[in-house]
C-alpha cells in the first residue's frame, strides 16, 4: 500500500509517496535527500537518526513516515539554516552548533546530528539545564568516540549562548560567561 503524504522538512513542504513500511529516516534520506539523520543501530537505541517532529525529538528509524503525515520535521541542518532550506552546506551555524565546534563536542560526527536534535528539544524546554539534566536528556544518543564530557560542555555552552543571545554570528572562540 502506498500513501501520498505531506511533510514540512526544515520549512520546505515535501509531498513524497511512501510505502506503509517506509520509515521516516528512509523517507528523509533516500527519497527526499535530507541526510542529516543518520542510520545507526536501526533498533531505536543509538539516536543517530533523531530529528524533531512537531518540536519533539524522536528517533526517525522507529517511526513510519506515514505516521508523520502532516507533521513539521526539523533535521540537524534545519537547526542551522535560517533560510529554512537546510542541507545546502550553509555555514550559518546556530549557537548550538557553534558550541559543538568550540567545545570539540564531536569526533567522527556520525552521532552529532542526532545529538543536536535532542539538545535542541532539551533547550527549548529548559533554557538552563544542569549537567545532570543534559546527561539525562542525551541518554538516547550514543557516541562511540568522545565519551560525553565535551558533548555536555557544548550543550552547556549553547544554553549560555542562547540565554545571552550570543554566538549566532560566527565562531568567536569565546564562551560567554
Amino acid at each position: 500500500m502506498e500513501h501520498d503524504i505531506t511533510l514540512t522538512v526544515n520549512g520546505r513542504v515535501e509531498s513524497p509517496t511512501v510505502e506503509s513500511r517506509t520509515l521516516l529516516v528512509h523517507a528523509l534520506r533516500d527519497q527526499l535527500g535530507y541526510t542529516g539523520p543518520n542510520v545507526g543501530c536501526e533498533s531505536g537505541k543509538c539516536g543517530a537518526c533523531t530529528v524533531l517532529v512537531d518540536g519533539d525529538a524522536v528517533k526517525s528509524c522507529t517511526l513510519l513516515a506515514v505516521q508523520c503525515d502532516g507533521s513539521d520535521v526539523t533535521t540537524a541542518a534545519g537547526i542551522a539554516d535560517e533560510s529554512g532550506t537546510g542541507e545546502n552546506g550553509s555555514d550559518d551555524l546556530a549557537p548550538l552548533q557553534e558550541a559543538f565546534v568550540e567545545d570539540h563536542g564531536l569526533q567522527c560526527g556520525y552521532c552529532t546530528p542526532g545529538i543536536l536534535a535532542t539538545a535542541e528539544d532539551l533547550l527549548a524546554e529548559d533554557p538552563d539545564p544542569d549537567r545532570e539534566s543534559i546527561r539525562r536528556a542525551l541518554k538516547g544518543n550514543v557516541c562511540r568516540c568522545t565519551g560525553y564530557q565535551h558533548v555536555v560542555d557544548a550543550v552547556e555552552t549553547a544554553a549560555a549562548y542562547r540565554r545571552d543571545g550570543d554566538g549566532s554570528d560566527g565562531a568567536s572562540g569565546e564562551a560567554s560567561d
Binding site: 506503509s20 533498533s43 522507529t62 517511526l63 505516521q67 538516547g140 544518543n141
Partner: protein
Amino acid sequence: MFPARFDYYRAESVDEALALLADHDDAELLAGGHSLVPAMKNDGREPSVVVDLDDDDLRGLDLGAGGTSVTVGALTTYADLAEDDRLAQVAPVVQSAAREVGDRQIRNRGTIGGNLAEAHPAADPPAAVLAADATVLVQGRDGSRRIPAGEFFEGQGQTALTDGEILTGVEVPGQQEVGTAYRRRTHPATGYALVGVAAVVSAVQGTVLDARVAATGVVDRAVRLSAVEDELLGSSVGDGLIERAAGKAGDGLDEERLRSDPQASGEFRVSLLETYVERAVSDAVDAAESDGMF
C-alpha cells in the same frame, strides 16, 4: 532494516479502529509504535495490517472529582505523564515510572496504552499500575469493560485483552494519603529495567496500614510482591522492618518464570530485587513521612 510489507490504516476513533481490527484477521494496533515498529524490524513480527490509533479523545488526563482518581488516556505519551503536575499530585508512582522509560526520544512518542497492552516483562509502567491498584479500561465491539491491573498481565506479551479489544485508558485511584516511589536498575543492553520496583505505602503514627509493592523485570510479567507487603502490613517502621521485608522479595516468585539473559541470571535478578525493594519502600516511607503521616 525494513519491516515486511503491510497495509497501514489510520483510525481517528476507537470505533473506526475496532471495525478495522474486525475486518482484518492479522491486524496489529499501533499506539505510538515504540514496541511494535522495532519488533516488526528486528523480531519478525509481520502483521498484514497495522491500524494506527489516532483518537485525540485518548490523549491526556481526566481528573475525577476531588482528585479521587485520574483516568489516563491510552495515547498519552510518557513525556506528557512525566511533565503533568496533576499526576504528581494524584498518582505520583505512575509519573515516577513514566520518567524512567527508555530515553527522551522514546518518552516523546511512546504511549502508556501501547506499553501496557504490549506487556513487556521489563517495562516500567506495569509495575506502577499494579502498585497503584489501577484499573485498565478496555473497549470491544460489544461494549466496554474494566480489568483490575492485578488481573491484566498474564505473561510476556500476554494480557487479559481478547482479540479485537482495545485498551483505551487506565484509571488510577488517588494516592494523596500515601508515599510512593519507583526505583529501577537499567538493563545495560536493552534500556528496559533489569529490575524495577514500585512501592505505595500508607501509615499512621509509624504503623504501616497499607503497602503495595510491585516488581518488573524479574519474571515474565510485572507482579505484586505479596510476601513483602505482608511483612510490612501492620508493622512499625523501624527496627529493620524495611530490610526484613525486602529480604522476602523472592518469596513466592515462580522460579520457572524467572527471566535470565547473558547480562543477568534469574538468581542475580532476585538478589537485585531485594536491594531495589528496600530502596523503593524506603523512598516511599520517606515520601509518606514528609507528608506528615508518620
